[in-house]
């Protein structure tokens, strides 16, 4: 029997969750809502559960005596008027519901053994004179996602998972099939294998004179997916008529080889890159993309994105301890008219809020600070948001490498396996369409951070006792990819019925490829199994021994003692057909804007400050715990009011050492419209400028590449990938900064009325840098009136794809280029000055140019500045707007005490610099050119404008 308990906030108290939803509804354009109340529903299933017990549970366990009211078996109603509409939303069966799991466990633990299951639901009472259609609109657009939830019009209805048959070994007939039949087999099985690959597989099995089993074919599809092997990036490309054998090897990897830094401990081969930090410790860094899942279910998609990359850290070497997260997002503009959106596309504001909430809840619950990030807003991301999640870890250097040994036991630990995310990998490599919302539901999942936190705690303990030989995470492709990769040099045997399941009814091939979250694989020597078990039990972590590593060279899969698949590792991992693709790139020419002469510079500065890509991200930053673990030494927000922007984060991971790490990023997809080569150069330099500003040593830095690209079957878009990779290679070599890891997410396209829409080619560069002494690092906020302001670097007529041109809906052609030699020299000299403690504040120039850099420094210090524009070193004679809004690279604004003037100039010798003004006590930003006053803006005005740019 099902018993219903409803819990809600007392009517005398405000309901902040209801209020927040009300605000969001107003944003949808519906203003007649009087009130919304959020009601939590628990459905307890038990054969017998007395009234007294039920009441005890409701009163003492599920509700708070001070803040809540509750009802048994009946509904809570806040209004009795006819304008009150209840809406009840339940999870679809099989969707992760952490609250239900926790509640069930707790109730059993405290003695209610009779309770068989718990379900939770969200109930809303919407009060106001609105129509049925409007309710429907609100529910669909805000309150639920039909991929994971259902709106219960009849609340008595229970959704229960139907059981399926579990064992029936199936073979897939591919021998002697025609090309079109092979394609049909691939499509029908959601395999995402192309014809060439299918034929390759056909040939392999023809030699063996048998058809593959379903699980064999699935395993190959998973292993060969774009997501797992990056076949485009590693394949052959004919670029403008020239053959590139392996793009990744000849650009990104090449740069690292050429630079050959001794602090690189592990590059490209593991789940994350490792650089040396101290004699005993290394730092790991990995950034992942989670674009497709976030488009369909922003909260779950982004949460599992961060959860996944944290497992990458945990699966690096013998396991690094995650110490920080980063996140960088690209969304459509929040004010996009909802009626103009195609069906199947979520409104960008909902995606924005959902993604932030997903990252927030996962990162905060894991106890890992989110310390750095940014957000780009542009309508090319309407259909496909870009979600980058990064994870930084610390690892004893002696645990940097791993390899499973023959006879080790394969142990799966952490989350249980369900049907979640089946075909996530093959789905990730495909385009979205208007019907994706309905057809890809299996690929969407919700994470449970506490499961991962327990797993983390247990594995750190086991690592320090050296109980296992190897570890890796279950990510895309599930067990199939994780075990397949881990055992590729040995051979493995797996018994699939031993995998702990969330619920009965999974087929063996589903167990094998499920992408359920929070799972790791470890290789445990038989002697250590008992101790391993003790640790898992202590931390209450689920685990199971499911197979063995054996030197057979084969992958052998069993289900209930029956062999269901055998493949040789060599074929699986090394024999996929190298694709050959065509690429070309030719510079496009855009209309060069003709701007009027007398531009209202003050107006432009304020408009730039309020444009969401530039505006303050405080509303987002404060939702992230950026201080947990107690390492924070430079916050994301600084200055007298704790609201000025930082260039990056500084962490001090070891209590007994002043040594720190600096984490920054560089991203500007707009430059890529003109030339991806210079986009890459600008992104790398921006990340490095930020790192140096924060005190990072440019000679002890490392970077990561993350490509989110559109349809790479289009030669022009693939050409952009080649061009950007070449920019990466040349800039990294010139700046002596190695790549240590990276990731590409291709085919970020959306099919609209049969036409493919690709996202902007988006490259993210993330940087990690070592800083010798965190107590010597500087922040961006102005410190003291009377100090001098210098601009380091040359300002050029480089406004192509600038935010300034964007205000006029123009792109132009003069994309900022990079003088590679000067860039390197500038970074080194600035770092030298910082170390000598002559600089009081520093901020680099990027989006919006010099004007925004000055404004942001002034906001931080709540101090004014008087700037003389004529003193700026420029290439040729530039107009006022060009000087203020050009986005030329290699520039920094620094604040120097007058008495350090000579020392600073001496230290910076060899790099162009100009003394352009001073800090003033009056809270005004004054910009003059010779005797002409151009700008006079109060800092408070600047600050409020900048802080209001993002609507939450």
């Amino acid at each position: 029997m099902n018993h219903r308990i409803e819990v809600s906030t007392k009517p005398s108290l405000t309901d902040p969750i209801g209020e927040e939803i009300k605000k969001d509804i107003q944003y949808l354009g519906i203003n007649r809502i009087e009130n919304i109340r959020f009601i939590r529903v628990f459905i307890l299933n038990a054969k017998t559960l007395g009234k007294a017990a039920l009441n005890h549970i409701a009163q003492n366990i599920l509700s708070d005596p001070v803040s809540d009211i509750y009802q048994l078996e009946h509904h809570i109603f806040f209004s009795t008027r006819s304008t009150s509409s209840p809406v009840e939303i339940a999870f679809l069966p099989g969707v992760m519901d952490p609250v239900a799991l926790t509640t069930h466990k707790l109730l059993k633990k405290v003695g209610y053994e009779e309770i068989a299951s718990v379900q939770t639901r969200n109930r809303y009472e919407i009060i106001g004179n609105i129509s049925k259609r409007e309710i429907e609109f609100i529910v669909k657009k805000l309150l639920m996602n039909s991929l994971i939830q259902v709106w219960l019009k009849d609340e008595r209805k229970m959704y229960i998972r139907r059981r399926q048959s579990t064992l029936r070994k199936r073979t897939v007939k591919i021998l002697k099939k025609s090309n079109s039949e092979l394609i049909a087999i691939s499509n029908n099985g959601f395999l995402s294998l192309n014809l060439e690959e299918m034929k390759h597989i056909q040939a392999y099995f023809a030699l063996r004179k048998k058809n593959p089993t379903d699980i064999e074919l699935e395993t190959i599809a998973q292993t060969w997916s774009e997501h797992c092997v990056h076949k485009t990036f590693k394949g052959a490309i004919t670029y403008n008529g020239m053959l590139i054998d392996n793009l990744l090897k000849s650009t990104i990897v090449k740069a690292t080889e050429v630079i050959n830094k001794d602090y690189c401990i592990s590059v490209f081969k593991d789940n994350a890159g490792i650089i040396q930090f101290t004699k005993e410790y290394g730092i790991t860094f990995k950034v992942e993309t989670h674009n497709h899942p976030s488009a369909l279910e922003p909260y779950g998609g982004a949460g599992t994105g961060i959860g996944g990359v944290i497992r990458d850290t945990l699966g690096t070497g013998l396991g690094a301890k995650p110490i920080a997260n980063t996140d960088i997002f690209c969304f459509g503009l929040s004010h996009f008219p909802i009626k103009n959106l195609p069906s199947g596309v979520m409104h960008p504001k909902r995606i924005f809020k959902g993604v932030i909430a997903g990252v927030r809840d996962y990162g905060n619950r894991m106890g890992i600070p989110t310390v750095n990030g940014t957000i780009i807003f542009d309508n090319t991301y309407l259909y496909n948001p870009v979600v980058y999640c990064g994870s930084i870890g610390i690892i004893p250097l002696k645990y940097s490498h791993k390899s499973p040994k023959s006879d080790d036991t394969i142990v799966v630990c952490g989350g249980k396996t369900g049907k979640d995310g089946i075909h996530g990998v093959t789905f990730a490599s495909k385009e979205l369409s208007e019907s994706s919302e309905a057809s890809s539901s299996g690929a969407v999942q919700i994470g449970n951070p506490i499961t991962e936190k327990k797993l983390l705690d247990a594995l750190m303990e086991a690592r320090d006792e050296e109980l296992y030989h190897a570890i890796t995470d279950c990510g895309g492709g599930g067990l199939s990819s994780a075990i397949g990769e881990m055992g590729q040099d040995l051979g493995v045997t797996v018994h699939l019925e031993k995998v702990p399941l969330k619920y009965a009814g999974l087929r063996y091939d589903e167990i094998w490829i499920s992408e359920s979250q929070e799972r790791m694989i470890i290789a445990v020597p038989k002697n250590n199994l008992k101790r391993m078990e003790e640790i898992f039990k202590k931390h209450n972590v689920d685990y199971a021994a499911i197979g063995t590593f054996e030197k057979t060279g084969n992958l052998e899969l069993f289900y209930k003692k029956k062999r269901v698949g055998i493949l040789d590792m060599d074929f699986l991992h090394n024999k996929y057909p190298q694709p050959r693709k065509n690429a070309c790139w030719k510079r496009k020419h855009f209309v060069e804007p003709v701007l009027q002469k007398n531009i209202d510079l003050e107006h432009i500065i304020l408009r730039l400050l309020s444009c969401p890509t530039i505006a303050s991200k405080e509303v987002v930053i404060r939702q992230y715990d950026h201080e947990v673990q107690g390492m924070s030494s430079l916050k994301p927000l600084v200055g007298t009011e704790n609201d000025g922007p930082s260039d990056g984060a500084v962490l001090r991971p070891l209590t007994n050492s002043k040594r720190g790490i600096v984490i920054t990023n560089g991203i500007n997809p707009f430059y890529g419209k003109i030339d991806p080569y210079w986009m890459a150069a600008a992104c790398i330099e921006e990340a490095m400028r930020n790192a140096v500003s924060c005190g990072g040593n440019p000679d002890k830095s490392a970077i990561l590449d993350n490509f989110s690209w559109g349809d790479v079957s289009n030669p022009q878009i693939l050409g952009e990938l080649v061009r950007a990779s070449q920019g990466c290679r040349d800039t990294a070599i010139a700046l002596h900064v190695p790549f240590i890891s990276g990731k590409d997410s291709l085919n970020n396209t959306f099919s609209l009325h049969g036409k493919k829409k690709s996202i902007l080619s988006t490259l993210l560069i993330s940087c990690i840098s070592i800083c010798d002494d965190v107590t010597k690092t500087i922040s961006t906020d102005l410190k003291k009136a009377g100090n001098l302001i210098y601009l380091i670097g040359i300002t050029k007529r480089e406004l192509g794809a600038s935010h300034y041109y964007k205000l006029y809906n123009r792109i132009g052609n003069s994309v900022p280029c990079l003088d590679l030699k000067r860039s390197r020299r500038t970074l080194k000299k600035v770092y030298r000055s910082l170390k000598r403690n002559v600089i009081k504040a520093i901020h680099d120039c990027s989006e919006g140019g010099l004007s925004i850099t000055l404004a942001e420094m002034a906001i931080g210090g709540r101090l004014g500045m008087e700037i003389h524009l004529e003193k700026v070193i420029s290439e040729g004679k530039l107009r006022n707007d060009e000087l203020l809004f050009s986005e030329s690279n290699s520039r920094f604004v620094v604040e120097i005490p007058p008495q350090k003037k000579e020392l600073f100039e001496h230290l910076t010798d060899g790099v162009p610099y100009a003394h352009i003004g001073k800090v003033i006590k009056e809270g005004t930003l004054i910009i003059n050119r010779k005797k002409r006053k151009l700008v006079k803006l109060s800092i408070e005005h600047i600050a409020t404008t900048w802080k209001k740019g993002i609507a939450w």
Binding site: T9, L13, T14, P16, I17, E19, E20, N60, I61, L62, D64, P65, V66, S67, P98, V99, T102, T103, L106, K109, V110, G111, R360, N364, R365, M366, G367, N448, P449, I450, K453, K454, K538, H539, N540, R622, Q623, Y624, D625, H626, E627, V628, Q629, G630, S632, S633, K635, L637, V638, G639, T640, N642, R652, T655, V774, T775, I778, S779, D781, K783
Partner: protein, 264 residues
């Protein structure tokens, strides 16, 4: 050699401030251990070895149902008596953030008239979202042993979604003040009881921390363990940070108290 104060930093699934809390106590000269409740209570009977129990910050059991609720229910069900005995023996209990939520839902705070009925709660912030920001704290009473050497406005961060302090009724509030059990109130930098963001969550009367009638059990939403060294502070580059305003002082006070009252 004088023996050291011994601290048990208790964790549950989802506790995540345990390590920096241990570090802070170690810096203050204590011996600190992290462990689960089962390792302290019950059969293990380890509890007599310790002088201070800390319920640190985090998301115990994901804050599922409500913040701190599941952990509080477990402790209440299995270990309530032992914990009360520990307190009555003159030892200290500190609850930070999620730990404060646990102590409140357990009824150990404010424990008016010595009862363990829950009379106050910590509920959703007015902003309906998690927030991490630095706050100024006024020291409202000298009742608690935790705040001896602090001076002026303390400054440390809060980081929570459910920190709004509310009471069951006006009587409870009056009693809290009358008994000097309100220890910290959120203020602006000029020591005024201001609204948001100075009061980051909408707490009643800006209450940020309370103690029990003995003054030896303290719960607070702000995180003293994140304000332990100078570089933890957001603006250490702008001005010097006085030790008397730091979170470290609260932790040092615990250790000093134990040394003075129990170890000497």
């Amino acid at each position: 050699m004088v023996s050291k104060a011994k601290v048990f930093v208790m964790k549950s699934a989802g506790t995540n401030c345990d390590e920096e809390t241990r570090t802070a106590f170690e810096l203050a000269g204590a011996l600190a251990t992290i462990g689960f409740a089962e390792e302290l209570f019950g059969k293990a009977q380890n509890i007599s070895r310790y002088h201070i129990i800390v319920f640190p910050g985090g998301f115990s059991y994901g804050d599922d149902i409500a913040a701190g609720k599941v952990w509080a229910t477990e402790i209440k069900h299995f270990f309530h008596e032992e914990l009360q005995k520990f307190i009555s023996q003159g030892n200290l209990v500190l609850g930070i953030c999620n730990g404060f939520q646990v102590l409140v839902k357990l009824g150990l705070l404010p424990s008016l008239d010595g009862t363990t009925e829950q009379t106050v709660s910590l509920t959703f912030n007015d902003s309906a979202r998690y927030e991490d920001r630095w706050v100024h704290l006024r020291k409202c009473s000298n009742k608690s042993v935790f705040i001896n050497d602090t001076d002026g406005l303390l400054y440390m961060p809060i980081a929570h979604a459910e920190g709004k302090f509310i009471v069951k009724n006006q009587k409870v509030l009056n009693k809290l003040f009358k008994n000097n059990q309100v220890i910290f109130q959120y203020t602006d930098r000029n020591d005024r009881l201001a609204g948001y963001p100075a009061n980051p969550n909408g707490s009643l009367k800006n209450i940020a921390g309370i103690c029990d009638p003995t003054g030896r059990v303290l719960g607070m939403m702000p995180h003293p363990e994140r304000a332990v060294v100078r570089t933890h502070y957001p603006n250490w580059r702008r001005h010097t940070i006085k030790p008397s305003i730091m979170g470290m002082t609260i932790i040092q006070n615990c250790v000093n108290y134990i040394k003075k009252s129990l170890l000497s």
